[in-house]
Symmetry: C2
């Protein structure tokens, strides 16, 4: 739609001239449909909302197919440069109809349609060989916000990869992208069955450290500086028996008794204890 691509990839992108001013616009209707997993999967695309998120996607090489912008909603000065760098067909939308396609309370005027990328579980994508691996396995994640938050925490902890095992949400849900603040694009994220995940870990000699209230060892007493996968289960049911039976060690997070913590908080505690242990015992 922009005509032949010239060498000026970083030229200012053409903003298509007609401003979309109605929520009933067919393009906006399509964007709203893409909130549903089925429509996302049928089209092979997903939504990325927000400046930080779109920027991270661009930096990671995610294929951006279209951009929707509402300049009156921009929060900073850098949006035009990012939009130009994206080099994708760009549609301007008036603030009110833009809000109808935004999923956040205070939209920042930037929404991209991107191609879904490879989330297969392969050693090509997940480089587990180049040092002691630290992998987060999130099994049966129910809430996209929790999965996104875990992906963000994992990025902060510098994991080798995140594996979503049998998630009840898909990683391309808008809430996952949002809660991850775009770190979904900044590290390898794979989706697989629990059995495939276990086989992959075994094949690459990655230890399995399962978190469960049934654990008999406190997490800080376990070596998390070795090549390990930390496995957390669903908010409601915890991990499936596979991960209890096949774990090298089942650890608990000792509680003062009132409650188990949220699964994203549990993942944060375990991953950053691995960071702490690795800092204390640096590898050669």
């Amino acid at each position: 739609m922009l005509g032949p691509r010239g060498p000026g990839r970083h030229r200012r992108a053409s903003v298509l001239s007609r401003i979309i001013s109605s929520t009933a616009n067919e393009r906006l209707k399509r964007l709203r449909r893409l909130r549903k997993r089925r429509d996302r999967d049928d089209a092979g695309v997903f939504l990325i909302e927000g400046y930080r998120e779109v920027k991270r996607a661009f930096e990671a090489g995610v294929a951006i197919e279209e951009v929707y912008v509402s300049p009156a909603l921009f929060l900073g000065q850098n949006e035009p440069a990012l939009i130009a760098a994206l080099g994708a067909p760009t549609h301007e939308v008036a603030p009110e109809p833009f809000a109808s396609v935004a999923t956040r309370d205070r939209p920042d005027g930037l929404l991209a349609v991107a191609r879904q990328f490879d989330t297969s579980l392969s050693a090509d994508r997940l480089d587990v060989a180049s040092g002691p691996a630290l992998i987060l396995v999130a099994e049966g994640a129910e809430r996209p916000g929790n999965l996104g938050s875990m992906i963000r925490t994992a990025a902060g902890a510098g994991v080798t990869a995140v594996i979503a095992a049998e998630p009840q949400t898909d990683v391309f849900a808008p809430e996952v992208v949002r809660a991850s603040v775009g770190t979904l694009f900044a590290q390898p994220v794979a989706v697989a069955s629990s059995a495939e995940t276990l086989a992959f870990l075994r094949a690459h000699a990655v230890g399995v450290v399962t978190a469960s209230p049934a654990g008999e060892q406190d997490y800080w007493d376990v070596d998390l500086a070795a090549s390990v996968a930390v496995v957390v289960g669903s908010e409601q049911h915890g991990v499936t028996p596979l991960w209890l039976d096949q774990a090298d060690v089942v650890v608990r997070i000792p509680m003062a008794g009132v409650d188990s913590v949220n699964v994203a908080a549990a993942a944060a505690v375990l991953l950053f204890d691995a960071v702490r242990q690795r800092a204390a015992r640096p590898q050669a």
Copy 2:
């Protein structure tokens, strides 16, 4: 409305006979209004949704004024016994209108109206003297879900108290109750200004450990087994300068570089490192 209270506090509560079958019912309209802070504060009440949450409120002595039930939505067997124990006027609601007052996707048929309780910052409520205190100070919390998650994590870590300093949400928001899974009721939670909070900590000789990307010490190198308050800031802006200037120590959570973690994840990492340190160096 139930007539004089007899000795049978644990008798089966009278369920008022007329089942509410319309979403336009005036009582249900009032419940929906109570989602708004202003209406909550005007009435001095708040909403508690869900079996676990109502149970924790009851066990903690929170004053329950009214109960709304939709038995077709109950997930377990214990709801009638809990409802009876509450001894409050109880209204039965058909599933569809119940869903109109519920704030969760899958309502479990139990919703209570409770009296707001004391959240003042006082040594009477916050027992900081009976051992090395561990206090979570959450300054400027923006999202009720984050605040609720931090309260839950704090309960898991067995803190002395949670102080919400200048929150941008109120602790009686339905999303706080929900994300806390009712642990809001299980520990002292106070709301105060940052200046009042700092004065309180100083008056009780509680050390101030502020978390910030500007910190020069890794959190694990700081003594969190002493009497300390861990201070985290808002998701967007971090802590205010007061907490950087007045801190006994400013700590960072070392990042692999991609992002700062979500504030609730940061609180979990810090509080559970305090748990770890205290387990390693138990007090006499």
